[in-house]
Structures are given as structure tokens and as C-alpha cells.
């Protein structure tokens, strides 16, 4: 991988932003200064100070502790959701692209059908039907994202099909499944990686939207979306309740974004 100064700058910026989120996540696993649901009537609405560096909320809960713990749900939902979408998308895309014809048409019509539901809508339906839980949100969002990956895989598979080594493999009578997974799949990493990273960012946006509506991560767990919706009534008197959770989200998404730019520019040779 050649990389230019510009693309290295993307890597550093993205790396720093993601390390902040990762540091929060790891720290939150082992230690928080206060319990996340530990209320304290004497210290409500404290502005950021030495004891509470991110301030406290309407119940006197420490915002810093809650931000530490919320990082794990952001990471959990985005990674498992994308992994789930990737598995379905990879299978559907490879099969559609490799076989073509009627199988391709059927898979593509199905994936178009799913794409016609605005993402958040499908997740809302899943929650309405199966009840609000983190698991339901994850699989519903995974389903929403699968067609995107299926498309990327399908297009790139079709491009690869004409290559000599694939033709040769076919002539040698190698099983189609082996061709798909051993000969085609590893060659598609560079096309799929940016889609995965952007998928992580989008997944986080949807998850926080669901949590904001009260249908995603359920209390007593802490999540950035829920923290923001709780803070809405106090945003004038206690703006820190909005600023810090938002900053955490921005850090994560911007970090992912810069990393995806780095992948894109360094794969291409780094001119754009």
C-alpha cells in the first residue's frame, strides 16, 4: 500500500479519534468514578468540575461515568450489526454475482425490496412486533444494511468473473462454492472494507436514533441516544448534558470516516 501525506493525515486523525472512543470503552469495562445509576440529590446539575469532569444530570448521576459505559453499547451494536449484515450480504452478493440469470434477478429484487424501507422504519417495525430490545434492534438494522453489502459484492464478483484465473478454476472443475469463497472473496477486501467502515458509522447513527426514541438500548443501561433524550428538557440550563454525549458520538463517527478515507486513498494510490 502506497500512501501519500494526505492519506497518512487521514490515518492519524482517524486513529486519534477512534483511540479516544476505544480508551473510553476499555476504561469503562474496568472502572467508572461513580456508579452509572448512582443518584445523588445533593449534586444535581453540577457543571463540569474537578469531581465530575463532565458534570452531573437531573438525578445527580455522573455524566462521565455514563459516557464511559455507553461506549460499549455503541461499539456492540455497530460491530455485531455490521457483522450480521456482512454475512447475509456476502452470501447473497456472491451467489447473485457468480450465478447471474434468474437467481441474480430474484436476489436483487429482494434486496431492492428491503432497500425501499427507510432504515429506521424497518428497525421500528421490528421493535413494534418483537418488543424493544437491543437484540431486535441489531438484527433489524443488520437486515437493513445487508443489501448494501450484497450490491458491492455482486458488482465486484461480476467484474472478477472474466479474469483468467477464475475461468481456469472453472475449467478445472473446482466446485463453485470453493471458487466463490477461496478465489473470489479474498480479492474483494479492498472494495468491501470502505463499505464496512461506513456501515459502522451509519449503524451507530441509527442505533442512537432508536435509543433517542426510547426503543433501542433500554435503561438501566446508559446510551448516548437516551442520555440526549433525557437531557432535552434541561438543555438550556445544563448544556453539558448534550455536549459530551454528542462529542463522543462525533468522535466515533468522524474517526471511522477518516479511516475509511485513508483506506480509499491508499488503495487507489492516493491522488484524490
Amino acid at each position: 500500500m502506497r500512501s501519500s501525506t494526505a492519506s497518512r493525515r487521514y490515518l492519524y486523525t482517524g486513529g486519534i479519534l477512534l483511540s479516544i472512543v476505544l480508551a473510553f470503552f476499555i476504561l469503562g469495562l474496568f472502572w467508572t468514578p461513580y456508579g452509572i445509576n448512582e443518584t445523588d440529590a445533593a449534586s444535581k446539575f453540577l457543571a463540569p468540575c474537578a469531581e465530575h469532569i463532565f458534570g452531573t444530570d437531573n438525578l445527580g448521576r455522573d455524566v462521565f461515568s455514563r459516557c464511559l459505559v455507553a461506549a460499549r453499547y455503541t461499539l456492540l451494536v455497530s460491530f455485531t450489526g455490521v457483522a450480521y449484515a456482512l454475512v447475509i450480504g456476502t452470501l447473497a452478493g456472491l451467489i447473485a454475482g457468480y450465478n447471474g440469470g434468474i437467481i441474480d434477478k430474484i436476489i436483487m429484487i429482494f434486496s431492492n425490496g428491503i432497500m425501499c424501507f427507510p432504515g429506521i422504519l424497518l428497525a421500528l417495525v421490528a421493535v413494534a412486533v418483537f418488543g424493544p430490545s437491543l437484540f431486535n434492534v441489531i438484527w433489524a438494522l443488520g437486515l437493513v444494511f445487508a443489501p448494501t453489502f450484497a450490491r458491492v459484492y455482486r458488482t465486484s464478483t461480476i467484474e472478477l468473473l472474466g479474469r483468467d484465473y477464475i475461468l481456469q478454476a472453472k475449467l478445472m472443475g473446482i466446485h463453485p462454492l470453493r471458487i466463490m469463497f477461496v478465489h473470489i472473496l479474498p480479492n474483494l477486501m479492498s472494495q468491501v472494507l470502505p463499505a464496512v467502515i461506513i456501515g459502522l458509522a451509519n449503524m451507530t447513527l441509527f442505533e442512537s436514533g432508536m435509543s433517542y426514541l426510547g426503543l433501542g438500548v433500554q435503561p438501566p443501561a446508559a446510551s448516548y441516544g437516551k442520555m440526549l433524550s433525557d437531557a432535552q428538557s434541561y438543555m438550556v440550563s445544563a448544556p453539558w448534558l448534550i455536549i459530551f454525549p454528542t462529542l463522543m458520538r462525533v468522535c466515533y463517527i468522524l474517526g471511522l470516516y477518516f479511516i475509511s478515507e485513508w483506506v480509499r486513498t491508499s488503495v487507489k494510490g492516493g491522488s484524490k
Binding site: 431492492n112 424501507f117 427507510p118 458509522a201 440526549l228 437531557a231 432535552q232 438543555m235 448534550i242 462525533v250
Partner: protein
Amino acid sequence: MGSAVRTALIKLCEFLLTALLVSFFTFAAFAIIPGDTARVMLGPEASEEQVEALREELGLNEPLAERYFDWLGNAFRGDFGNSLSFGNPVGDLIASRLPVTLGMSLIALIFVVAVSFPMAAVCSRNPGSIKDKSLSTAGHILFAIPPFALSMMLILFFSKVLHIFTAGRYTAPSDNFGAYLVSLLLPSLCIALPKVAMTFKFLRASMIEFSQGDFVRTAKSHGLSDLRIMLKHIIPNSAVSSVTVISLVLSDIMGGSLIVEQVFNLPGLGRLLLSAISRRDFPLLSGIVFYLAMMTVLLYFLADVISAMIDPRIRDGRAA
């Protein structure tokens, strides 16, 4: 010409098939509710007679295929049955909430197009310049802020600092159209800004690609001005792909309005949807989902038709 008709027919068939599939997904989602649907809707306190009556009313005792075709036939006539929590026909409820959601989506769309095209045009003229870099970075940051957080910040700024906006005040378009537009302006902006970032990024890449084309070099050597080259040569060429992106953005905009309505306390489809979810009002819920999904299918179809109309390669079926 024959191939153009054939392309149009294929597109139409695909559209109808997708619409049918989407309707099936919507129906299936509410048919596979674990346990007894009527019992789930009424809750554990309801008596067995009440549950049986609701089952009868919703036609749950009939076979699944029959229920689907009944539901589909009624849905296409705009009849989704009666809402259980409001008592009114679902179609009327949706119609009464449409001005908010559609108005917001439309204003947001206009905003996305009006901002991202000039931004992309400026950036693509000198890729890598300070102007390009700062606009691109601004775009990244906008993309990273969730719409509801952006909404809160804008409410804070406009209502508490500038005192020119009150969140939650909504005027119906029939009362005062000007006030209606004003009340939707800020929420639309909140939906649009993250999408501006997305559209801009795409347009910028496609304009840079086209501005390196041979035809642009020829136009330059003929002494045409930069503005003229941009308007006559680069923008029309990137228009085809931008129609596709804009149709994708529109579906996101409708999804985004579901959440932003909640922040601004506007009586739109999103609020209706959420109350349907919390009251387990499945006829209302499936009506809204069907409506929104059908709108999206129609939008994608229109985008397909428009891009076929402006792109001769697709129009003649050469690249279809």
C-alpha cells in the same frame, strides 16, 4: 425506438414487482407476530370475549393468503381499516399528518440540492485547495452529528440565543401558509444538513472525474469560460448519477423526519408511528409503514425514469 419501449416496459415490471414485494414484507411483518396477535394488542387484562371479537374484526380467523389479498386490495384503495387507539380510519389519520412530513421532506430536499451542488462545483474546480479541504471537513463533521443532536443545538441557538424561533409551534398550511413554511424551516434544516454532506461528497467525486474528461479539455481550448464549462458540460454529465443519489437521500430524509419531528414536537407521521408502536395499534402501524415504503418505491421508480430520460445510453437500452 423499439428498445426504448422495451426498456420502459422492463422498468415498469420491476417497479410493480418491487411494490408487490414491499406490500408482502409489510403484511408479513405483522402476520408473524409471536403469539396471538389480538392478545398481544389488547394486553393480558383483556377478557377472552374481547380478544375473540378483535380477532373477528381483524379477520385473523381466515387463512393467511386470503387475509393478504384482502389487505392488499383494501390498501391500494387507501383503506387500511380503523385505528384501534384513535378509532378513526387509518387513511384519514395518515392524511392529516402528511403536511408536516411531506412538507419537511420537500424543504429538506430543496435545501440539499441547493447547497450541495454549488459546494461540489466550488470544490471540484481546485481539488486539494484550502477551500476544498475546509468545505470537505465541514461536510464530514456535519455527517457525524446525529440529526436529533443537531436539532437540539439549533433549537438552543435559535430560540434561546436569538429568540426568533419557538420549538413545537406548528401552524397548519390551511391557516397560514407562510407561518407553516417558517415552522418547518428549522426542522428541515436539521434533516438536510447531514444529507448535504453525503450528497456533496458524491457530487464532488463525480464532478472531479468529469472535469478531467477530454470534452472539458476541448471546451477549455475553445476558450469557454469556467462557469460555462461547469454549467454546460460538467453538471449535465454528473446529473444522471446524481438523480440516483438524490433518490437514496430522499428515502433517508423521510426516515430522518420520523426522528426530528419528535425533537421539534411536530404532529407528523413519525409521532403517529411512535404512538402506534407504544399502543400496539397494528392496523395504524401497518398503514403508515405501507404508505412510507410505497412512497419510496415510487420515488426510486421516478428516479429511474428520470435518469433514463436524461441519459441517452440508458434511454436507448444500450447500457440497461
